[in-house]
């Protein structure tokens, strides 16, 4: 029918055509469901709280305040004091309490208002949670989730902007995930809660309000994303960009811009920091021969450094046509002034520059 319309010419038929086309769109695919990262995390926790009585949430302001960033909105109203617990400002104390509860068989979700405050409790995360299954020779599991916003926000300055991916990613016994999209957030959070091991979920405050298309399968109550598997967000042939959390979005923007110049980037969303899915990166590098890693954290001893080291050790090294390159946060404590702060986090232009340098264009 459309073909006939085209043959009869556009003159005089314009309005009819557009009316027909509009009607066609109404009858075909409905508008895709848009869900923000915040709502995805909320859904994940709500579903897991409903599914298993042993799951509970504790942290500062998680209950009556609905969460400092509203991630736990509505949960206290639905589940009450027993399952959603407001704690005093005592990170070391309540993190330890959460770990003890996990040792005794409950499944706590322990929120740090930001991961900067987890430093006060880091001994409980590492020495009491991460190492215990090993030290006990497999007798004492610790099924706990530590979650909260990680890394830079906007204008919160040095003490509130650190990225902990490298520090937590360093430690055997922990699992560390870093969701980017809503789908990531829901699937990884649910997997984290169901996992019998200590899992650190590094969220991102600036992503909380960002809506993403939510695929059908993500709307299921049993939607899980496996921990330890990266996702290729965009296929490409010329260069591999690997990232986690918010910078994944910047990589996709850079890829769109580079595409117009004829450079096709393959963008990989790590999703999990530990255990890292190096195979997906290797397969990609063996195809594109070029690698750029992108992260928000500091350069030294970081996620990118680990990826580069492992690439050198594996089969992909021989496929590199240029040294692997890292794009990271600037090697300084985060300054406050906007212009300084902007230049301390990897921007799209920094990614493009690094990609072109690597490709020698």
């Amino acid at each position: 029918m459309a073909a006939g319309l085209v043959r009869s010419g556009l003159a005089g038929c314009g309005q009819q055509v557009s009316r027909l086309l509009r009607r066609r769109f109404h009858r075909s695919a409905p508008a895709a469901l848009q869900v923000t990262v915040r709502d995805a995390l909320n859904q994940a926790m709500d579903e897991e709280l409903e599914r298993d009585e042993k799951v509970f949430l504790l942290g500062e302001e998680v209950a009556q305040y609905d969460g400092a960033y509203k991630v736990s909105r509505g949960l206290w109203k639905k589940y009450g004091d027993k399952r959603i617990i407001d704690t005093p400002i005592s990170e070391m104390g309540f993190a330890g309490i959460a770990v003890g509860a996990a040792m005794a068989g409950l499944r706590p979700i322990c929120e740090f208002m930001t991961f900067n405050f987890s430093m006060q409790a880091i001994d409980q995360v590492i020495n009491s949670a991460a190492k215990t299954y090993y030290m006990s020779g497999g007798l004492q599991p610790v099924p706990i989730v530590f979650r909260g916003p990680n890394g830079a926000s906007a204008g919160v300055a040095a003490q509130h902007s650190q990225c902990f991916a490298a520090w937590y990613g360093h430690c055997p016994g922990l699992k560390v995930v870093s969701p980017w999209s809503s789908e990531d957030s829901k699937g990884l959070m649910k997997s984290a809660v169901r996992d019998d091991n200590p899992v650190v979920v590094l969220e991102n405050e600036l992503m909380y309000g960002v809506p993403f298309e939510f695929p059908d399968e993500a709307q299921s109550k049993d939607f899980l994303i496996p921990i330890g598997k990266a996702k290729v967000e965009r296929e490409g042939t010329h260069i591999t960009l690997v990232s986690h959390s918010r910078p994944v979005g910047h990589c996709l923007e850079a890829a769109a811009i580079l595409s117009k110049e004829g450079v096709e980037c393959e963008v990989i969303n790590l999703r999990t920091i530990r255990p890292m899915d190096i195979e997906t990166i290797e397969l990609s590098v063996m195809k594109t021969n070029h690698l750029v890693t992108v992260e928000g954290g500091w350069p030294q001893f970081g996620v990118g450094a680990e990826i580069c080291a492992r690439i050198m050790e594996g089969p992909a090294f021989n496929f590199l046509d240029a040294p692997a390159v890292r794009v990271t946060g600037a090697d300084v404590p985060m300054p406050y002034a906007k212009i300084l702060e902007e230049n301390c986090i990897p921007q799209v232009k920094d990614i493009i520059f690094a990609a072109k340098k690597t490709l020698n264009i």
């Binding site: 509970f56 027993k82 617990i85 704690t87 005093p88 005592s90 070391m92 104390g93 309540f94 993190a95 330890g96 309490i97 959460a98 770990v99 003890g100 509860a101 996990a102 040792m103 005794a104 068989g105 409950l106 001994d123 409980q124 020495n127 009491s128 299954y133 090993y134 030290m135 006990s136 020779g137 497999g138 007798l139 004492q140 599991p141 099924p143 055997p172 016994g173 699992k175 019998d196 091991n197 255990p275 050790e313």
Partner: protein, 390 residues
């Protein structure tokens, strides 16, 4: 009378395998139980207090004696093995403090929970693990309770959460276990132990606050053995009334060298916690004969005279023994027999712990994650890989 003479003569001719005492005992009458005065506990924010008398049955007495003696001999054996370099690293011995772990266990149920710090061998035993598994863990062998992967400070059993190496970290953990008890509505409590040194850790005060706020069924127990490593309590704490340091939490100060005193105080505190009133604090005044650990001779910060004085006047095993013998609950010979049994058990366990092989190298990668399909773990270089199973 005729029968008795016959029995005696059989014994004296050596026909019987049993030692003389055992057969003669059959004819002797012991008391079933006896009542003892125990030291009054100082209390903080409490109207009631634990009783000042305790009844000890013969059966209980023999049991406590055997357990305390086992802990004592086990620790002394560990000392020996350490000096022979068969045990390495950290080894914090509990001899002198036996009345604490035995009295506490006597005051609770096996379904209750216990967590302590690194001076943990006594509790590991009273919570149910056999001596051979404890010693084999100390010697780092595959038959150790943690397969040789934990060592002295990381021994776990049912309802016993170690063995914790970071001073004070076990206290919030214990409150968390108590939270789980309350959450599960099972009428269980958690004993959360720490030392006089740890009592000054900030996280303990954070824990007091939350335990009291949420009325967690947790008994905080400060084993005050007067020294945090080499620092005496007077040099470490602005207030050495550890039973009062919980401030808004009621507390009792207990003679930790008297197993009956510890037991009665524990029963009192356990009843309080089980009734839903919230946490309680117990300070056990006790003493360790060894230094802080095997690398500390223990005499640079205290005098040999002090140690000797405690040994001769307050030794917990001696105190129990005297009570039992003087009140016709047991005979000296009977207790000596128990000593012999205990010695044998420890010897056998030490044999095992010395002869058992070390864990296989493959064990290195295991137990990183729980309930996880097998994966590979990196060794000292990229070519060395270990399989990791849960």
């Amino acid at each position: 009378m005729r029968k008795m003479l016959a029995v005696v003569s059989r014994v004296l001719t050596g026909a019987s395998q049993k030692p003389a005492g055992r057969v003669l005992l059959a004819a002797r009458n012991f008391a079933n139980d006896a009542s003892f005065d125990i030291k009054k506990c100082d209390v903080h924010r409490l109207e009631d207090e634990p009783p000042t008398t305790a009844v000890l049955t013969r059966e209980e007495g023999l049991k406590y004696y055997k357990i305390m003696q086992t802990v004592r001999r086990m620790e002394l054996k560990a000392d020996q093995l350490y000096k022979q370099k068969i045990i390495r690293g950290f080894c914090h011995l509990y001899d002198g403090q036996e009345a604490c772990c035995v009295g506490l266990e006597a005051g609770i149920n096996p379904t209750d929970h216990v967590i302590t710090a690194y001076r943990a061998h006594g509790f590991t035993y009273t919570r149910g693990l056999p001596v051979r598994e404890i010693l084999a863990e100390l010697t780092g062998r595959r038959g150790g309770c943690a397969k040789g992967k934990g060592g002295s400070m990381h021994m776990y059993a049912k309802n016993f959460y170690g063995g914790n190496g970071i001073v004070g970290a076990q206290v919030p953990l214990g409150a968390g276990i108590a939270l789980a008890c309350k959450y599960n509505e099972k009428d269980e409590i958690c004993l959360t132990l720490y030392g006089d040194g740890a009592a000054n850790q900030g996280q303990i005060f954070e824990t007091y606050n939350m335990a009291a706020l949420w009325k967690l069924p947790c008994i905080f127990i400060c084993e005050n053995n007067r020294y945090g490593m080499g620092t005496s309590v007077e040099r470490a704490a602005a207030s050495t009334d550890y039973y009062k340091r919980g401030d808004f939490i009621p507390g009792i100060r207990v003679d930790g060298m008297d197993v009956l005193c510890v037991r009665e105080a524990t029963k009192f505190a356990a009843a309080y916690c089980r009734s839903g009133k919230g946490p309680m604090l117990m300070e056990l005044q006790t003493y360790r004969y060894h230094g802080h650990s095997m690398s500390d001779p223990g005499v640079s910060y205290r005098t040999r005279e002090e140690i000797q004085e405690v040994r001769s006047k307050s030794d917990p095993i001696m105190l129990l023994k005297d009570r039992m013998v003087n009140n016709n609950l047991a005979s000296i010979e009977e207790l000596k027999e128990i000593d012999v049994e205990v010695r044998k058990e420890i010897e056998d366990a030490a044999q095992f712990a010395t002869a058992d092989p070390e864990p296989p190298l493959e064990e290195l990668g295991n137990h990183i994650y729980c309930r996880e399909p097998p994966f590979e773990v990196r060794g000292a270089n990229q070519w060395i890989k270990y399989k990791s199973v849960s």
